[in-house]
Symmetry: C2
Subunit: 510 residues, 2 copies
Amino acid sequence: MFEAAELGRKVSSAEYKSRVPALREELLGVQDRLRDARQPSVIILFGGVDGAGKSESVNLLNEWMDPRWLLTRAYGQPSDEERERPEYWRFWRDLPPKGRIGFFLSAWYSRPLVDRVHRRLSRAEFGARLDEIVDFERGLTDDGALILKFWMHLDKQSQKDRLKKLQKDALTRWRVTQEQWDNWKLYGRFIDAAEEMITRTSLANAPWTIVEGADEHYRTLTVATSIRDAIHKRLGEGTGNSGAAPPSIAQAKGRKAPALPKTRRSKILSQPTILSKLDMSQRVDQTKYRTKLEQLQGQLNTLHRKAQRRGVSIILVFEGWDAAGKGGAIRRLTAAIDARACQVIPIAAPTEEERAQHYLWRFWRHLARRGRVTIFDRSWYGRVLVERVEGFASPQEWTRAYAEINQFETQLVAHGVVLVKYWIHISKGEQLKRFRAREHAVYKRWKLTDEDWRNRKQWDTYEQAVNDMIERTSTRQAPWTLIEANDKYFARLKVLTTVCNRLESHLRSY
Amino acid sequence: MFEAAELGRKVSSAEYKSRVPALREELLGVQDRLRDARQPSVIILFGGVDGAGKSESVNLLNEWMDPRWLLTRAYGQPSDEERERPEYWRFWRDLPPKGRIGFFLSAWYSRPLVDRVHRRLSRAEFGARLDEIVDFERGLTDDGALILKFWMHLDKQSQKDRLKKLQKDALTRWRVTQEQWDNWKLYGRFIDAAEEMITRTSLANAPWTIVEGADEHYRTLTVATSIRDAIHKRLGEGTGNSGAAPPSIAQAKGRKAPALPKTRRSKILSQPTILSKLDMSQRVDQTKYRTKLEQLQGQLNTLHRKAQRRGVSIILVFEGWDAAGKGGAIRRLTAAIDARACQVIPIAAPTEEERAQHYLWRFWRHLARRGRVTIFDRSWYGRVLVERVEGFASPQEWTRAYAEINQFETQLVAHGVVLVKYWIHISKGEQLKRFRAREHAVYKRWKLTDEDWRNRKQWDTYEQAVNDMIERTSTRQAPWTLIEANDKYFARLKVLTTVCNRLESHLRSY
């Protein structure tokens, strides 16, 4: 989940300085129109790793916007007053009225998370607390509120560096106490709990945005433009989050919404995606490949038979670019597995019967019995890839699909399934080379369709969709494995190694 | 919660026979139009007490409608096939395609409920299972499905009678095994768990309807007309349950929806509400009243001081008809309580500040510290009473309010608050008498407004709203107390007795 926020994204000082004036003006503009429209109330929550810039962001936004119409709340230990009332009392009391913006630091997420990290809550209790949050936020968005949640992330080393830097400066030293260092030591637990929390509370009505916190310029621009765009979108379109949509505010006021700011977020922040960080030069020579392949296939066969005896099911999901070599990798897997226990499900456009059902229905029906291996050649992730990019699913449909998919996979894993998900990645140049080769070899020509060329034109849009998919669905229980596949040998070996390792550790934990 | 389904509602054979032909025709009609529109898929779930008519209803509907387009599923112990897959696999597999209707007997509710009754699930685990159900159903309705859930209720004695009757008949004897009798012995536990289940899973997108199951004619007409109306409404208006509403089906097809069936449910079943079952003749004479009042006020004072010392808060909610005597009852309470620890909050139309917030915000802000008594003279129930009847809240808003209110009250009770809710009831005739008296006594005239007369005209609509309110929000943790208030003395004593008993049992359980 946090891989996509550890890419070292940066914005140069020069770019930052050139962007800020327009952005501040736009922020003031949306704030103004929001007040004018007298709805919705905007709740902006910051959570994340200590030192990743939560309070800096809020301070800066307070500087940039009109503070008379802003409300900022941070919460320490509850006061006597607060302890004597139900926990949410202080949050309810602080909610911004319609037309205003409220910034909340950690707020209702803080106590459940800290209590879980320190094991004062069991996993089930933690889950129950998260469900309370979901109910609370849903109540607010049902009423028309706009909720934005930013998770400011730092990896463990960066957090250490950051805390040390704060300590060195006399002005910021006070912010780093023993508590921060104690927390730092629990980084692993903190991140585990945070991941579960984000997975469970990132729903379409109140989604989390994970922000890489290391570079101040990058994180500031990301947060500020997201806020600008979200409020602008709500004001311009005026649709509610769910249920009874309030009338479009622009409509209601009988005037046109102002044009979208010209500087769109994606443009401002044309930043590396998680895919762009892969080392695509990794190769394996043929001799080594042959030896290693045989060895891995042998290992997989042994493990698979062990799994079969114990009734452990394996589900493998393959997603990747056209011509990335999914088919080849799958064949090297199936060669090692008892064909009677293995099933490859190619996912193309849904049939008429499938179209008459929920999009997850066709995947449920293919779930196999215990001890079997099911390989999905493309999968339910089509919802957030092709259906998103091609507009077959509405933004509302694909945004809520992340949570739906996580819930689906939770059920698989809870049932004891070993779930391995691969994104088979090739560079754009490598794809072109392979397309050309397919054009020239008669026996391969059937593999190349007009659709492949059309998809290729949308490369950047797909890449963004892949990045979002990994950010939102790579969970500890069902992580994505990214396969650098410019070299097919390397790719196939990595696919096999991954499934062997996952299976081995699963069987060991029995 | 189940009080409203223990009223002995009946439909005579003659009325039943006269209604059925038109109803069957209408059911076939909506089924036909549903198939024609190819959406939505309709999921109709039956749960409830054994013998309350779950399977009879499904059988009858299968007889009345076109069985080629119906699908009926009951679930026993999972098969090997099913056990080897995640629990929901069998339910996903059985979902009706779009344009079809599926009847489900207990289905996904069965196992959590039974496991809870037999204490194989802790309360927290039961809660987590219910949340899974909520997620599952929300996924389906987000996708456009229409979900109706009927809870067929019988009180303990009626269930016993019913099981005995089934046993006597050679044709139905097979249905009553030792298991049914074992379950009957656990009736109390079963009802407790069912109440928690219904409270937690009755959300606006997939609400439960509680049906009194004792009279076959009544329950059949209720279920059949509810189904007819719900499908008709969806086809006619075509709005989705939430989020991206599919276009109105009638619109999409470029034709007008057929007129609503003339026989509306409320008319067909102009049945007694829970209020109509109260014994309104209960009286207390003045001498007895005076003695008893003094005694109860003394008792309350002692209990209240004890509660105060222990930091136990009390919240009293008063709802009732205009001129029912809420004010008088409240004054008899406050007379017994230390004024410094007590606060009466009269709830009128919201202020401008309150209108700019979620409707529950103004109640949250009035929550007092520990050891205090707060009396709400009218309350958050305005949402499902006046706001519903007068159309200030949209149907979507007031339907989801039941769950929101239950969540709110759960937080109060979890915090240790003693919550007592009164409906002060007078008959329509008694109200008229009191209005007239107010008109004639100069010093009382200010108490009577035009609005009171307007509300009176809507008596029946209000009565239905009160009935629904009690059905959906009278929970074990926060039950409603109905006060027969044609006689003010009787009413005031019952108000005092109730709060004394509740306080006493709460303090004892410390």
